[in-house]
């Protein structure tokens, strides 16, 4: 009887150590099957205090900005070179005049701004005015010290523009509100909300590739043409400083 008890005590499952090993084995199997998910999540929590902080983020963003600037410069150079080869219109990027907005009429019918640079500073009628974001309008009138700019939201403004995604020209018409209308003289044009609109390479008034706005909504009720409302990238009602581009088109 005593002998039998001794035998049963010596079974492997009676030893805690064996169960411990078994548990570890099961855990490792679980880890294997879950492909280390548990480990990774565990690592997530214990490494959290040592993650790269705000400072590192700023460094990375600055590097990205620099990278973009270098890329932009290279692309601009490429663009100028290719335009010269193809004998296309080009904008002289080095003839910029900075000017402050001294009067602003951005509501109602009259949509214009007056700048503190005039014919004395070399501003001429027809010069292009851009602000942070893109195109604002064209110089319509100059005095000795000031120049008046017709905004692209003015009912008098009509410009040729380019929808890059679908590679099509359109007409941007000011309506006297903050959203000028893009008219595409083709019912089949596949324009979508969010499409980017820039100045047209075929325009006789503007240099090409100046950002203008983004399609906000599309109206397909007209029979022969499509129209779209454009949300401008440059906001004339808040911009205080602008650049006047002296262009020879």
């Amino acid at each position: 009887m005593l002998g039998i008890r001794r035998i049963s005590n010596s079974r492997w499952w009676h030893k805690k150590k064996n169960w411990l090993f078994f548990a570890i084995f099961l855990f490792l199997v679980f880890v294997r099957i879950s492909k280390g998910a548990f480990y990774k999540d565990f690592y997530y929590f214990i490494s959290k205090p040592f993650w790269p902080g705000q400072f590192q983020k700023e460094i990375v963003l600055e590097s990205i900005d620099q990278e973009y600037l270098i890329k932009l410069n290279l692309l601009t150079k490429d663009n100028i070179r290719l335009r010269q080869i193809l004998s296309l219109q080009e904008s002289s990027s080095d003839k910029h005049i900075s000017a402050a907005v001294i009067s602003r009429k951005t509501g109602s019918w009259w949509r214009q701004i007056i700048l503190n640079k005039g014919s004395k500073d070399g501003v001429e009628i027809g010069n292009i005015v851009i602000g942070p974001g893109g195109l604002l309008g064209r110089v319509k009138n100059t005095s000795l010290f000031t120049s008046s700019v017709t905004l692209i939201t003015s009912p008098e403004s009509k410009l040729g523009v380019w929808v890059d995604r679908i590679q099509i020209n359109g007409l941007l018409v000011g309506l006297g509100d903050d959203y000028p209308s893009l008219i595409l003289y083709s019912k089949d044009a596949d324009i979508k909300v969010g499409d980017f609109v820039s100045s047209s390479p075929a325009s006789t008034l503007l240099p090409p590739n100046i950002p203008i706005g983004i399609v906000q909504s599309i109206d397909e009720t007209l029979k022969s043409k499509k129209t779209a409302k454009i949300s401008l990238l440059a906001k004339p009602n808040v911009i205080d400083w602008v650049q006047i581009l002296k262009v020879n088109i």
């Binding site: 951005t106 509501g107 109602s108 009259w110 009912p155 309506l175």
Partner: protein
């Protein structure tokens, strides 16, 4: 001391005499200034009517018509829209305002200024809108309709809102200056 007093007196006399001219000069300045904090939906009140109403009420229709033309010429030269003009609306308003008789009831007069200016602003806005519509007849007829109605209504509201304050003050000033001259 005597010279200083005399120059002050002359200055005061000049200001009183030329009050209407000085206030007239301020209209294009305010029109250009375009204070955003006074606006509604980005639209400003139609400033020239605030001056034209008291001027025409005191000086009559012909004077109102002539100064409506002058105001229109000045404001047209300040705006860049060469194809459209504010002259017809202002001439019509100047003539119309000259036909209105001064009212003895002060409170009623205040509200009347608001209503008359609102109506004048509506007329000027509609004249301007019709010109734009006529010009863009083939292009974007339907597109321009809604923003234009919004512009007209906002302008009518603001002009009517501010007119009782500004017009009654100007009217009192013009009357005072006229009495001094006489």
């Amino acid at each position: 001391m005597g010279t200083n007093f005399e120059s002050k007196y002359l200055m005061k006399k000049f200001l009183t005499k030329k009050l209407s001219t000085i206030s007239f000069i301020f209209i294009p300045i305010i029109f250009l200034w375009h204070p955003n904090w006074l606006g509604f939906l980005g639209v400003q009140p139609y400033w020239p009517l605030f001056w034209l109403l008291p001027w025409s009420m005191i000086n009559g229709s012909i004077n109102g018509l002539i100064f409506g033309l002058f105001l229109g010429l000045i404001l047209d030269s300040l705006t860049l829209n060469e194809s459209f003009t504010q002259i017809p609306g202002l001439i019509f308003c100047g003539f119309l305002f000259g036909r209105i008789k001064l009212h003895s009831d002060i409170l009623l007069g205040h509200f009347r200024y608001g209503l008359i200016c609102s109506f004048g602003s509506f007329l000027c806005g509609t004249f301007y809108f019709l010109q734009i519509l006529f010009r863009n007849f083939s292009d974007s007829n339907s597109l321009i309709l809604i923003p234009s109605i919004k512009n007209i209504l906002a302008e009518v509201f603001l002009t009517g809102f501010f007119a009782p304050f500004i017009c009654s003050h100007l009217l009192r000033m013009f009357k005072f200056s006229r009495r001094k001259i006489q």
